[in-house]
Structure formats: structure tokens, C-alpha cells
Amino acid sequence: MIEVKNISKTYKAGSELIKAVDGVDLKIDQGEFTSIVGHSGSGKTTLLSLIGGLTKPDSGTVVIDGTDLWSISDDDLSEFRNLKINFIYQFASLIPTLNVLENVMLPTAFSKSDEPFEDYARELIEMVKLTDKVNSFPSQLSGGQQRRVAIARAFINRPEIILADEPTGDLDEETESEILGLFHNMNENQKITFLIVTHSTDIARGCNKRYRMSQGVLKSE
């Protein structure tokens, strides 16, 4: 379960202070499929990063499964992320020098698990329909294919939470539909909690819970 209490984050842009997230409260139960809709600059991505422990809030707490993310050490937080959370970004997030299989397996480099991940990685690659590209490098893939590799990578450590930031942005309708189908499938079969940040009201419509964010403030829809 994710519990966000009265969280705020302010950035300094030149001499100006910008309140990206302003006193947000949010509660997401395990296995929920939640969306946050909002315009660019509304603070969605910052909120996602705060929930994922990528940046420290100025105030408030983020508690996941009973662990207050900012009360533990940086190493423990990294380990926590590696075990429980994974991210999907709106940009190409692959390492250019690693091939598809290696990119998918990348989070396992930081895992303490001795599990042989290769078979599962190949399974995930098959799931995103890139079996024939397993040895290809990012530069040999289209934008959509790269996004699918990043999605396969997000599941490799069997996370409990996926935080997705515009996961289907810039993709054609068919690919978008395929990817959302995959998300719903993982949500139903593996009870993975999804928190998706999007511009698209269509994507939001398919979620159990919907929120709207504007000027750092989150409101339920």
C-alpha cells in the first residue's frame, strides 16, 4: 500500500520558487490501477518521483508497505526500489551500449537475488513481441520498440509497484492499446500496483482510480 501524506516539493528556477507539489495526500491500495491526469508542468512527474523515492520532499511522508522512504538510508532506499518499484518513462531510457536482452536484465545487476533472470527476461521480451530483436541494440530499434523494451525491463525484478510517466506518449494507437493491454494483464494476473501519469483522458478512463493534478495540487475525479 502507498500512503502519501501532505507532501510538498519546491524548486528554485533562477530567483523564483516553484511549488511543484503542494500538500498532496494520496492512498493507493495494492493491485490498484490509478491514473493522474494533468497538463505539462502541473507537478505529475515530480509527484511520481517523490513516490518512487527519487527525490526528497520538503515536507510530508511517503510510506510504502509500512516503510517511510525517507527514514531509511540511501542504500536501503536503493535496495527497496530495486525490490519493489520500477519506473517507465516517457523518453528513451535504454542504455545504448547494451542489447535488448541486457537492457531488460539491467536492474538485476543491482539485485541481491541469485535467481537466473535470463529465462524470465526472454519471456518478457516475447511478451512485448520483440523476440527477433533480442540481440539488437537501441539504435537498431524504432521509438515504439525501445519503449516496449523499457516496459519489459520494468517487470524484470517482479516489482510490486510500477510508476509510469506518460508510458504511451508519442506511440501510435495500436502500440498504445497493446501496451495498456499488457499493463492491465500484469495488474490482474500479478496484482502489480500501477500509477500512471498521463495527458490522455482515454487512458485515465480505463483506471480504477483517477486523479487530476493542477499547479501541484491533486484532486480526486
Binding site: L54, K56, T97, P107, F110
Partner: protein, 402 residues
């Protein structure tokens, strides 16, 4: 089964921009190669001087006063030259305060005519009754007394082997043993034999050789001196020069110290240049790694988001730096070694000083030292960028990299 490791990621990063990686490795290679060559030469000279002095076995070399330069040149550069002084000087030297042992030697230079195998070779006659330089070595290695007509050869005379003969003024001299290499041409390029044998050659040269040897029987070329342990060689040398007219007492340690000083001034200048090169290489690598870290900010942020700890990021940058430094070190040391091997003759002749390759153990030590230095070069240079990379907040790193 494939397993992704930090080393694999670092290795792939090195291949990403191969010319940049090569530039880093080459800058380390230049430093490692220069340092390796210089330290090897310095070590070689030092070893040669030490071993040569040990082999010479004498603290002082007494020569005619007008032959000081000739003697020093013969001792260091090995240029054969002959000079003579009264044989009675040997007894006078022996009686001087502080002298423990004194032994005379007589130099004979080979002729360029066919009566001699090799022209300009130095045949050194010694007195087996008083000698303390060749005889102790013979006792250990030959296990029998040296016959009057036999000779011991310096190691550089590679055309000869134990059991073969060397021809001097028409006389074939059997070779009973070879001295170990000292790097001092005076010893390595000379043939040693007892006085009696040398005088016999001189006598026989009248009938056997094209050229007759005229050795003055009442003359010697040098008197080698061993001093008592409670007194310094320099002090005994002063006594000798004071007591005996017309001689020069050359203190081996002083000759060696002066050579060492002269050479080390030259090598120290080169070493200073190497140190400047080293600092420049460190700065260059530091700047390049700072660029690398800036370039990969988003990747670093992404890795942190995947669960990489600060230590993992630090290790990743440092592994890349270590691999490139070690590769550069290996390339540099190999190139330096190849340079020394190819130009060993040139180095020997241009330095004109004793030169002996270091032993395998010394070589291993020099290689290890230079490899360690190469490793330090890259890792120290990449230390600050590595620390900076691990301190980045993941979200900030991802945002800045966009």
C-alpha cells in the same frame, strides 16, 4: 546463463566511444612507458655500478698520475688502453697506512694483425699470489687452481666458450671460465690471466706473432687496493698520493658516485618531464571523465532509479577508469620494454657507462610499480567525477540529462 555485472556495463561503456577511450589509454601509456624506460635505465645503471664495483673488488685503483683519465675511461667505458708504472709501487702501496691488501695488474692490448683473434681487446695479467679480485671468484666457480697458460674471459666476449681458445700474439690460450656479466665493459670485455702466462705470450710473440710484444718486466699498469674497514678509502687514497710520487689513487666509490651523479642529473630531468606528463595526463583524464559523467547524467539517474546504490555508480565510473588505466599501463610498459630492447645497443653506447639489464625479479618489481602508477593515474583522475556522479540525486540527474 547471462548475468549483467557492473564490469560488463563498464566494459560496454568503454567501447561506446572508442577513440575517447583510446585517448585516455594512450595518455596513461605515454606516462607509463616513459616512466618504465627511465626507471629501468636508472635501475640498470645502479645495478651495473654496484655489481661492477663488487666484481672489481678494489676500493682504490692506483695508476700513473698522467693516466688518470685513461684509467677512468677504461673503468667506465671499457676503452682498452695501456699505461705502466714502476713495479716497486706495489710494495710501497702495501706499506701505506690503512691498506689491507694490494695486488698489481698488467694491461696488454691485442694487436689488429692476424696474430690476435680480436683487435683492441684488453688482456689483464694478475698475480695469483696477491690477487683478491679474480682468485676469490675462481675458488667458488672453477674448483681448481688456474693454470699459468689459462685465461678467464669477460661475459661480453660471447664468441668464446669455456674450453675454446683465444689467440693472442700467436699463442692459443685455453679459456677456463667466464665471469658473470657486470655491465662494466672494463671487466666484461677483458681477458684475465696470470702474470706468468702473460709474460710467456710476450716472449713467444717474437717467434709466433707478426708483432712482438714488448712488456717491461719491471712495470705494472695498476695496483688494486683493499682498505682496512676502520678507515675510509678516500683517506687511504690521500695517504697513497702523499707517500708515493707520480701516482693517482682513484677511489672506486668516488668514480661511481660521480657517474651516478652525472647520469642521474640527466635522468632526473627526464623524470621531471615524466612527472609533468603524469600530472597533465591526470588532468586530461579528470576532464574527460567529468565530461563522461555530465554526458551520462540521465543514465546514472536511470540506474539509480532501477536500484543502483551510490557505491554501484562510483564503482561503475572507477571500473571504467581502472580498466583504461591498466590497459594504458600494459601498452606503455610493453612499448617501453620494446623501445629498450630495440635501442639497447644505442643506449649503452650513447650513455657510455656500465649498463646491465635488471634481473627478472627487478623487472617484475619495475613492471608492478609502473602498472600500479598507471592504475593510480586513472583512478585518482576519475575520483572526483566518480564522487560527483554518485552524489547526484536520481530525479535531478534524470531531469538534467533530458
Amino acid at each position: 546463463m547471462i548475468k549483467i555485472t557492473l564490469f560488463h556495463i563498464a566494459n560496454q561503456n568503454i567501447r561506446r566511444k572508442i577513440f575517447r577511450s583510446l585517448a585516455i589509454a594512450v595518455s596513461v601509456a605515454v606516462v607509463a612507458g616513459t616512466l618504465f624506460s627511465i626507471t629501468t635505465i636508472m635501475d640498470s645503471v645502479e645495478t651495473s655500478l654496484r655489481r661492477g664495483t663488487e666484481r672489481l673488488g678494489a676500493d682504490i685503483m692506483v695508476v700513473p698520475a698522467n693516466a688518470e683519465m685513461k684509467a677512468k675511461t677504461a673503468l667506465l667505458a671499457g676503452d682498452p688502453s695501456t699505461f705502466y708504472m714502476d713495479k716497486r709501487i706495489e710494495d710501497k702501496v702495501r706499506q701505506t697506512e690503512g691498506v689491507k691488501k694490494a695486488a698489481s695488474q698488467l694491461f696488454l692490448q691485442s694487436s689488429e694483425y692476424e696474430c690476435c683473434d680480436v683487435a683492441d681487446m684488453l688482456l689483464i695479467g694478475f698475480d695469483p699470489n696477491n690477487d683478491f679480485t679474480i682468485i676469490p671468484w675462481l675458488t667458488k666457480r672453477l674448483n681448481r687452481p688456474l693454470e699459468d697458460n689459462e685465461a678467464i674471459m669477460g661475459r661480453a666476449l660471447t664468441a668464446y666458450a669455456v674450453g675454446s681458445n683465444v689467440r693472442f700474439y700467436g699463442t692459443d690460450i685455453p679459456i677456463a671460465g667466464m665471469l658473470e656479466e657486470t655491465g662494466m665493459k672494463f671487466i666484461d670485455n677483458s681477458v684475465f690471466m696470470p702474470f706468468k702466462g702473460l709474460r710467456k705470450i710476450a716472449e713467444d710473440s717474437a717467434t709466433r706473432g707478426k708483432e712482438t710484444v714488448d712488456i717491461p718486466l719491471d712495470k705494472v699498469s695498476t695496483v688494486l687496493v683493499q682498505v682496512n674497514p676502520e678507515i675510509t678509502a678516500a683517506r687511504v687514497a690521500i695517504f697513497i698520493e702523499h707517500e708515493i710520487e707520480g701516482v693517482k689513487a682513484i677511489v672506486s666509490e668516488q668514480v661511481i658516485a660521480s657517474v651516478r651523479k652525472q647520469l642521474f642529473i640527466l635522468l632526473r630531468s627526464i623524470l621531471s618531464i615524466s612527472i609533468v606528463l603524469w600530472i597533465m595526463a591526470m588532468l586530461l583524464i579528470g576532464v574527460v571523465f567529468s565530461m563522461i559523467v555530465n554526458e551520462r547524467q540521465r543514465e546514472i539517474g536511470l540506474l539509480r532509479a532501477m536500484g543502483a546504490k551510490k557505491g554501484n555508480i562510483f564503482k561503475l565510473v572507477m571500473t571504467e577508469a581502472s580498466v583504461l588505466s591498466l590497459a594504458g599501463g600494459i601498452i606503455g610498459i610493453s612499448a617501453g620494454g620494446l623501445f629498450l630492447y630495440i635501442f639497447k645497443g644505442f643506449i649503452r653506447s650513447s650513455l657510455d657507462i656500465p649498463y646491465l639489464w635488471p634481473s627478472a625479479a627487478q623487472f617484475s618489481l619495475l613492471i608492478s610499480f609502473c602498472l600500479f602508477l598507471s592504475f593510480i593515474t586513472g583512478t585518482l583522475a576519475a575520483l572526483y567525477p566518480a564522487i560527483r556522479s554518485m552524489r547526484m540525486e536520481p530525479y535531478e540527474a534524470i531531469r538534467r540529462g533530458e
